[in-house]
Each structure stands twice: as structure tokens, then as C-alpha cells.
């Protein structure tokens, strides 16, 4: 694979390696040849809309389902041929909190500890340590069904951490949580990564990927449509926005006219009165020069000029937008949505 030497991840070992993974459910190709790598101690964000195949990917990688083709190796173990060894080194936190609602927080963790072959004593002390670590000590003896959404999710994370996993899968860990609880979960994940855990995170939220992941793989309909570092991806997609501010705030509209008359990029400029800026979408460095030229030709002095990379939302839209132009791949549901 091509490695960018400036990238901090390039020297690290690969903890999760997926090649050509395929999984069908009847006629539907949930995974259609997925390739990805997660480097040791990093967070890979797997981004995609509902039904893109994110959960299927996680279920394959945690041995819950068997892929139809391809290979996946996690911490050196093959998902198909060494499932038991693999299960010992992974942690899984699903989209729905997978804890036993009828058991207390402590009993939940103790149970998982015993199933991971800890002695009774070890299982007890590990449970207590994790309850403490995830701020659940006060609620330790209450049934999990009385927990709030955030507490449940924290208990779920704690349960995933009992076996000191090498690789942790987080399948949409904050779906359905309120912003405050979401921030709590993010903080926990960040601190787990600091402890050296490798994380594969699936999410529909760009903000979440930006917050937690260092690298991204964008999947749609079971295929990887883009992958790389977050900044690389943004640059690759282009679609930057130029923010031009006149030296004299009173010249804002003159500046807007200058850009509107000449249309140096062919696209319309927008005036942001509150920020005192004119925004121009550009796709190349030539267009940047053309904008500056047009403004100078109009006799307006530029106070400041900045280039803004697109948000992940925009990256995602532009990537999935490309795909819909290939009509032979359009599934009936998506056609309905398009109509």
C-alpha cells in the first residue's frame, strides 16, 4: 500500500486488516469487497449512511457473522479460522447497549469477567475498578434498566473493557444520545485510546468522526468510496471556500459587486454581512489567483483572505453524490427517495 511518510501512522503496525470482504444477505450485498486497515493505537472512523454496511462490517469483524469472501485479520487472528482466539482480544459496544437490564451494573461486569475466564476474585475486583473508572460506583447495585441512557452506554463500554481488549469496536456508540451524554462517551473513548486501545468506530455523524478518528474510511452500499486522513480527504474532495474581507468594511458591497460582475470562478459570491466577508466557492488554486486578480482590478483593497476546507458533511455529500450518477447501481429504495 502507498504510505505517506509524513503521516504519523505510517510506522505503526496494523491491528485490523480487511481485504475484499464480501457479505450477502439474500440478494443484498451488504459488503461488496471492503478493504481497510486500522493501525495500532489509532481510531479509524468508518463513516456511512444507514444501510451502508457499517454494522455488517463490525459483525463480521467480531465473529458474529461469517463473511462470504475476503479476509479479515484482527490482532493477528483470522476472523473465520481463529474465532475463539480473536474473541479474546476484542471488545464490542453495539448500537444498542448490550447489557443485561435485569442485572445490576456490578453483576453485569462480573458475569462478563467470569465468561472471560477471570477467577471470582479477579472478576470482582475488575468489575469494581471499571465501575469506578466509568463513574458508576454509586449505581453499582441497581438493575441496569434503571440507568439513564448515558449510564447504560458507559456500562456497555465498561463491559467491553473487562478483557483489556486489544481492539475495540464501537458501532455507532452515540446514536440516540443527547449532546451532553454524547460528550461523556467521547471523553471515555478518548481516554481509552490514550491507554493504547485500537478503535474501529462506525458513525453517521461527521462531528463524531472528526472528534475521535485520525483516519477515515467512507463506505456506501458495502463499498469503500474514500479513505485517508481527515484533512487529506477534505483536500481531495476540493470544494474549498474562499473568505475575502475588504480592508475597509464599507467596501464590502463593492467587493461583492466586483466578484459578482466578473465571476472569476463562474460561481456566484455570497455576502456575509455579519462577518463582513464575501464567500466564494473555489475548486483550484488558479481560481484563487483569479479571485484576487478580479478584486484588485476593481480597486478594492483586500484586508484578509482565508481558504476554508469543507466540513465532513460536505465531503460526504460530494462523495456519495458522485455515486448516484451511476444509474446501474441505483436500488429501488433510492430511486423512490430520489422521486
Amino acid at each position: 500500500m502507498t504510505r505517506n511518510d509524513k503521516n504519523p501512522e505510517s510506522g505503526r503496525r496494523v491491528a485490523v486488516s480487511v481485504r475484499g470482504l464480501v457479505k450477502h444477505f439474500g440478494e443484498t450485498k451488504a459488503l461488496d469487497g471492503v478493504d481497510l486497515d486500522v493501525h495500532e493505537g489509532t481510531v479509524l472512523g468508518v463513516l456511512g449512511p444507514n444501510g451502508a454496511g457499517k454494522t455488517t462490517l463490525v459483525r463480521c469483524l467480531s465473529t458474529l457473522i461469517t463473511p462470504d469472501a475476503g479476509q479479515a485479520v484482527v490482532a493477528g487472528y483470522d476472523v473465520v479460522r481463529q474465532p475463539r482466539q480473536l474473541r479474546r482480544v476484542i471488545g464490542l459496544t453495539g448500537q444498542y447497549a448490550s447489557v443485561d437490564e435485569k442485572l445490576s451494573g456490578r453483576e453485569n461486569l462480573y458475569l462478563i469477567g467470569r465468561l472471560l475466564d477471570l477467577s471470582r476474585k479477579e472478576a470482582r475486583s475488575r468489575a469494581d475498578a471499571l465501575l469506578e473508572r466509568f463513574s458508576l460506583t454509586d449505581a453499582a447495585t441497581r438493575p441496569a434498566r434503571t440507568y439513564s441512557g448515558g449510564m447504560r452506554r458507559r456500562l456497555d463500554l465498561a463491559a467491553s473493557m473487562i478483557g483489556r481488549p486489544h481492539v475495540l469496536y464501537l458501532d455507532e456508540p452515540t446514536t440516540g444520545l443527547d449532546p451532553r451524554t454524547r460528550n461523556e462517551v467521547w471523553a471515555e473513548v478518548t481516554s481509552m485510546v490514550r491507554d493504547g486501545v485500537t478503535v474501529l468506530l462506525t458513525t453517521q455523524y461527521m462531528e463524531e468522526a472528526e472528534q475521535l478518528a485520525s483516519e477515515l474510511t467512507v463506505i456506501d452500499r458495502g463499498r469503500v468510496i474514500a479513505s485517508g486522513g481527515i484533512d487529506d480527504l477534505k483536500a481531495k474532495v476540493g470544494g474549498r471556500t474562499l473568505r475575502v474581507r475588504p480592508a475597509d468594511p464599507l467596501e464590502l458591497h463593492a467587493l461583492a459587486r466586483a466578484l459578482d460582475d466578473r465571476r472569476p470562478t463562474g460561481a456566484a459570491a455570497t455576502v456575509h454581512t455579519e462577518s463582513g466577508e464575501v464567500l466564494v466557492p473555489i475548486v483550484s488554486d488558479d481560481q484563487l489567483t483569479a479571485v484576487v486578480g478580479a478584486v484588485t482590478a476593481h480597486g478594492v483593497t483586500i484586508g484578509s483572505i482565508s481558504v476554508e476546507l469543507p466540513s465532513l458533511d460536505e465531503v460526504f455529500l460530494s462523495l456519495t453524490g458522485q455515486r448516484t450518477s451511476a444509474p446501474q447501481q441505483v436500488t429501488p429504495e433510492l430511486e423512490e427517495v430520489a422521486v
Binding site: M1, T2, R3, N4, N7, E9, S10, V14, S17, R19, G20, F25, D35, D37, R59, S62, L64, T66, Q71, V73, Y77, D78, R81, P83, R84, Q85, R87, R88, I90, L92, G94, Q95, Y96, A97, S98, V99, D100, E101, K102, L103, E107, L111, I112, R114, L115, L116, D117, P143, A159, E215, T217, V224, I225, A226, S227, G228, G229, D232, K236, L319
Partner: protein
Amino acid sequence: MSAATLSPATPAAPTITIEADPKISLRGHLRHTGALIRRNLLWIKQDPESMMDAVLMPVIFTLLFVYVFGGSIGQSLGGGQAAYVQYVIPGMVAMMSMNIAQGVGTGFNEDFNKGIMDRFRSLPIGRGSVLLAKISVELLRLVVAVTIQMIVALLVGYHINGHWAGLLASIGLTALFGSAIMWIFLVLGVTMKNAQSVQAMGFLVMMPLQFGSSIFAPTGSMPGWLQSFTAYNPMSALADASRGLMTGGPIAHGLTVTLAWTAGLTLVMAPIAIRKFTRKA
């Protein structure tokens, strides 16, 4: 993948040495099953009402059959209600096998519709542990139900006539057959969409097998087609064996047929249940 690529290249798969996946030791299996049994017992502690069916069903069934039908069926047995009590109680011990077994599928299905099964299946435990733990706890419920059943039976005038060993053997046989039946309901629990359909399906299977048998009445007066059904119905065999054991009557035929059904059902259904459980998408 560090460089941004819009059309990802497919590099060669990494070479790894595959060492055989180690088997789980017997101790490991026992530890895992024990931990899961503890979980199911904590459920009962947490929610004692879940024992209501095991406690109340035998009371209601016994009172209903003895006092509603007992007098008239007993007459044909040549001894009135007292004779019917002697007839029906061993049958009811047998009936518990299916009544309790039915519940196993419903609970299991509920587990599946929450995320907890995914967690269990992503842990390095034996494939049968979760199922065996469930069956163990249901067998415990079965023993509780039969015990209550016998207490009520003695209260309504059942005479054990010293056949205590026979009673214990009958309970053991019921438990054994019950565990075989549970595999069927576990398969239903894994494959069906929700707990309601599991319950409805369980009811459909259970009713003809229970009532189309020698549990509640001798089969001699039934029409020919029904007699052929009851003759092959394992519930009849179990009820006959139970009756033989608890009253000192003949047991050979009932016992053989029951044990054959138990072995057959377990050998066929247990692997299917474990397979469905492991492969559930």
C-alpha cells in the same frame, strides 16, 4: 491507509500463520455455564413474579381437573373422584415437562431482541454454554413446579402408597424429557421474530400433544384416529411411564418410548439449536 485515495487500491492480503483455534477446556465450559446459570437465577431473584407460572399452573390445573372432570371421568374408572386423582396426578407430573419447556423459547427470544446475545456470542465461550445454562435454570423451575404439584396432589387426596422412589424417578424422567423438548423451543426462540409468535407457536404444538394423550383420560374411549395419534404421542408414553413408576404399574413400554424420544429429540434438535444460535445474523 494513510494517503487519501478515492478509489482504494487492493494491496496483497497480509500473510499470517494460522495456529489451530484451541478448544475450550471442560473446566472452562463449566465455569461459563455456571456464570450464565447464576445470571438466570439472578433474574428470578430480581423478578420473582417470573416464577408465578411454575407455582400457580400446577395448583390451578390440579384443582380444575380433579374437581371439574374428576367425578365423571372417575366413574368410568370405576371409583369416582378419588380414582381419578390416582389416575391424573402422575399424568400431570409428566405434563409439567412441556408446560415449563415452552417458556424457555419466549425468554430466549427476548434475550435475542436485546443486544446481550451479541455480547455473549462475541466472547470466547463454548457455543452451547448459553443454551445449557438456560435449560439448567428451566429444569430447576420444573422441579419447583412438580414439587408444588405434589403438595397440592397430597392435599386433594392423592395416595403415594409408599412409591417415593417411583415418584423421584418419575420427576427425573419428566426433567429428562423436558430438557429434550426445550431444545425444540430454543430453536423456535432463535428463529422466530418475537416472543409473542414463539408463545403462539408453542401453544399450537403443546395443546394437541397434551390433550391428545393419556394424561387426562384413558384413551380407550377415544375414536380410532385419535387413538392412533395418542399411541405415538410421546406425552402418552411419558404419562404412562410416570403412572407406572408412581403406582407400581407396568413401566417398560412407556419408559422405553420416552427414552427413545428423549435421545432422538436431543440428538437432532440440540445441534440445530446450537447452530442456529451461533449463525444467527
